[in-house]
Symmetry: C3
Subunit: 139 residues, 3 copies
């Protein structure tokens, strides 16, 4: 059983789509199984992180912005792949440091997500995108 989630983004940030994922899994009629998410891009990624305090999302994004500054930052002058803008190669790097796929078991017809776990699309590019996340459930 598969579906595609479309996530609209406008700049580097965490975009939560936990509700969509939970609804898809709970409606699947699978008692014991495995849900896998896969993002079809190389400049955004997936993340499971706390979804209680919105400051967590800000801090998370700021950490990655500091760890991998844009190409116009003096510390990143060594980058070669800069033709698509100063945020492009850093986006690929951030996408390498975070998951492209995540698998979450289903038990008793429910995802086993922990209490504080939210599912996010982590956008690393500045301009707007519509991102695709393929979801697959195996029984």
């Amino acid at each position: 059983m598969q579906t595609i989630f479309h996530v609209n983004t406008n700049g580097p940030k965490l975009y939560e789509f936990t509700d969509d994922v939970v609804r898809f899994a709970n409606d699947a009629g699978v008692e014991t199984g495995l849900l896998t998410l896969f993002v079809r891009h190389t400049s955004c990624s997936l993340l499971i992180s706390e979804n209680a305090d919105p400051d967590v999302k800000l801090d998370m994004n700021n950490f990655f912005a500091r760890l991998v500054p844009d190409a116009d930052d003096a510390s990143m002058r060594w980058l070669r792949h800069t033709c698509e803008g100063p945020d492009d190669m850093p986006a690929h790097i951030k996408a390498a440091l975070t998951p492209v796929s995540i698998s979450i078991p289903i038990a008793n017809s429910r995802l086993v997500l922990g209490t504080w776990q939210g599912v996010y699309l982590f956008e690393h590019r500045t301009r707007s995108h519509q991102r695709q996340v393929v979801a697959h459930i195996s029984a």
Copy 2:
């Protein structure tokens, strides 16, 4: 087929539970399949790493402590989410940099783990926790 591994932790460190995982997979009676591990938390993570020299675990933990210092370090003054202690937001960041789920094939009724691969719960919080890792096997 599913189970939950409970891992007791007391501080930021790598806690090996390879034997539990191997036993569960080998006893499953599945000749060809896939084992998936999923950690139900946002301030610890999973890791596969060398389990021959215990210094690897120390170096690994020290690297992450240096890459993401606690909030009371001068370099981290920009963090907002600090209400739950100086180690809380850094724990979420370290958990983002390492896997929340890992999948290992089963071949000839055995996990295909490499010779030096151990399976770890990577705790990022200072105080004690009991962590849950859900294991799912699909045939």
Copy 3:
């Protein structure tokens, strides 16, 4: 359905094997399923990244070399696990920061890889290796 891909490496770099993965998945005769890749080592890893501009591979490798310098760099004097050479512990760390397993759905008998997504073995050791990646397909 399983196979093992053997990837020969000679130094820290990204080695693409997308074609092998696509061929295995497309020849599997599975209309809807999930392909999982698992690398059986602790000093190399897997990566999905852009495969259009070869500079992306160079920049990616250079970023990790800067983030985790070899043990003979002054900034890494604190490393303990150095007996197997200055590139060994940094290789374990780089392998912790990037995936050991990746899962990609199959839809309409084809991997749902995005247009720019290539599949790579990310070698972190200096000397030559033959690396094993186990591929598993579940229907």
